[in-house]
Amino acid sequence: MSPLVAFVIRRLLQYIPMILVVIVVIFILVRMAPGDPTYILVGEVGDESFVQAARERLGLNKPLHEQFLIYILNVFRGDLGYSYLRSESVSKLIIDRIPATLILVLTAMFISAAVGIIIGTISAARRGILDISLSLLTLFGISIPYFWLGQMILIVFSVYLGLFPLGGMISVGMDYQGINYALDIIYHLTLPALTLAIFNIAFTTKITRGSVLEALTQDYIITARSKGIPERRVIFRHALRNALIPVVTYTGFNTGVLLVGAILTETVFAWPGMGSLLYDSIRLRDYPVVLGIFIYGSIMVIIANLIVDILYGILDPRIRMR
């Protein structure tokens, strides 16, 4: 087995207890929330025997710990159950939504990494007015809530200026093919991706700036300058290259935060991903779907962390995968 494969497997095994904890916590949280799905199913004024029958069908009449045990065993069999409301398996529902969320989150991640790293590095290299205004902007970016920001962006760019669609992922009824299909998605993707990216741009900028400033105090920077190479190269090739390690770590660890941001962003922009599915499912108390999404979300975060660990070894030759 190659060391990389062995490393990945070992890491995945280490994550199993973590997933268990996630399931327990989410199970408890979901069930503690007020509201009863049976009423949503049968309506508030349903016949009491009718409600009782629905309860039994969903297994909600059993004691909570029993429900939990049944659920856990099913999860390890790969069965996340059926949605209460939609006649589909939870896995199918979620898997259908994953591509949309991945496109949104990865685009936002890419935009924020590219923009954040460039602005962060420049602001570290030339301190002064630019630096102060960037810090203020960063603070601003970090403090605005997604929900509000998304709505403002939607109102200004779609409603008033009419530059972008009001929501969704494709133009309904157009049936584009090939390149036009891709362009249509990009057209719909722009605003939600920017909304989701802004917070992250701000944070990546801040982290990159601090990390580059720190790298610039290191002795090897003096060596680089002593060679008479252009300052541009000193900053990007020597300082930034070393500073990237914490930036990558941050970007990976931040996947969870981005996924949470995606819930709100997808809801505002009617983006058909896991986030809007989660929002609807919580609203309608569709417990199996809510739990399923959290499990899939945790797995995504774990995969992101794995990628970070692998990138680590590439970025820093001193780290050998063990």
Binding site: Q218, D219, Y220, I222, T223, A224, R225, S226, K227, G228, I229, P230, E231, R233, R237, H238, R241, N242, L315, D316, P317, R318
Partner: protein
């Protein structure tokens, strides 16, 4: 040394650091010159301003520093490096003046291959292609007697021993054939066993390429091996300058005498060094009069009030002490 064959002349240089505690007068009116092909040592205890002086010459001082006064003239053009715009200074670094640093551990970029670190100066100064530069890097490492040079260029610093790393630093410094090499404590961070090797290598290189050398060290013991002339520095000032031979045989300044007594010989073990009592002063408020007076065994009244000037006692031999001259 004829004055017409100078490569570098430092005159009346003042360098300060701005700190929260006050202004550190790290170099306080220093003058000396280095001839073509000459090896010049700057010796003194830690904290006497040697590194500050060395970094001033190649203009790589920390941000909280400032050159307050003085000239650093580079010959034959007679350029004043103090006034040179940064863009011009960059063309001098690496190409005209090379620098070797104290700790190869921290002065090499940990995430860049050895070969790339050596090649980059060559690419910029000699307008080489990267492959050509890399080939030259291998040649340089071979020159520095690094085994498996063509393999070492692809390694990272942490994969080399301290002595090997310092050879890499030397290779980087000489990669563009500079006329002047500045070495700031080049062997201090190394194992005693490899110190002599690295020093020998340095000596052969400067002879072979006819480079001038400014060697900064706190160890008078290594100076005799490699240098022609020595400046003894204390508390930001030069106390004595002289030919190595004269200075060893016949030291004039009480501080020089103290330093020489501190050099361990085969007769004296390290534990019984008859050094100088006390420690160098704080350079925010250095002593008035002769800066060495609080520690000088020969101190008298005049020393505590008036500062002794650096006077020429014979051709290219200078001393700053009221007892001499």
């Amino acid at each position: 040394m004829f004055s017409s064959s100078k490569i570098l002349e430092v005159s009346n240089l003042y360098v300060q650091y701005l700190t929260l505690q006050g202004i550190v007068k790290a170099v306080d009116g220093v003058s000396f010159s280095v001839g073509w092909g000459e090896s010049f040592a700057i010796v003194g205890e830690s904290g006497s301003g040697k590194s500050t002086l060395a970094f001033s010459v190649i203009r790589l001082l920390p941000e909280n520093s400032r050159i307050v006064n003085g000239k650093i003239l580079l010959y034959p053009e007679n350029i004043d490096l103090v006034k040179l715009p940064e863009e011009e200074m960059r063309k001098i670094r690496g190409r005209r003046i090379g620098m070797i640093f104290q700790d190869p551990m921290t002065f090499l970029n940990p995430v860049m291959r050895i070969g790339d670190q050596i090649a980059e100066a060559i690419i910029y100064h000699q307008k080489c292609s990267p492959t050509e530069a890399k080939r030259k890097a291998v040649k340089l490492l071979e020159k520095l007697r690094i085994p498996d040079a063509s393999d070492v260029v692809n390694r990272y610093p942490h994969q080399l021993s301290g002595g090997m790393k310092q050879r890499v630093v030397i290779a980087m410094a000489i990669s563009c054939n500079p006329q002047l090499l500045i070495a700031d404590e080049p062997t201090t961070a190394l194992d005693v066993t490899v110190q002599a090797e690295v020093l020998e290598l340095l000596k052969n290189l400067i002879n072979e390429y006819n480079m001038s050398l400014i060697l900064v060290t706190h160890d008078l013991g290594i100076v005799a091996e490699i240098c022609d002339r020595v400046a003894i520095m204390y508390a930001g000032k030069i106390m004595e300058i002289g030919d190595v031979y004269r200075l060893y045989k016949n030291p004039k300044h009480p501080y020089t005498i103290g330093l020489l007594n501190a050099v361990p010989t085969i007769y004296k073990s390290k534990n019984e060094i008859a050094g100088i009592k006390g420690s160098p002063p704080n350079l925010i408020n250095p002593p008035i009069g002769c800066r060495f007076h609080p520690r000088c065994p020969y101190v008298f009244d005049k020393c505590k009030i008036y500062e002794p000037p650096l006077i020429e006692i014979s051709k290219s031999n200078y001393v700053a002490c009221w007892l001499v001259g």
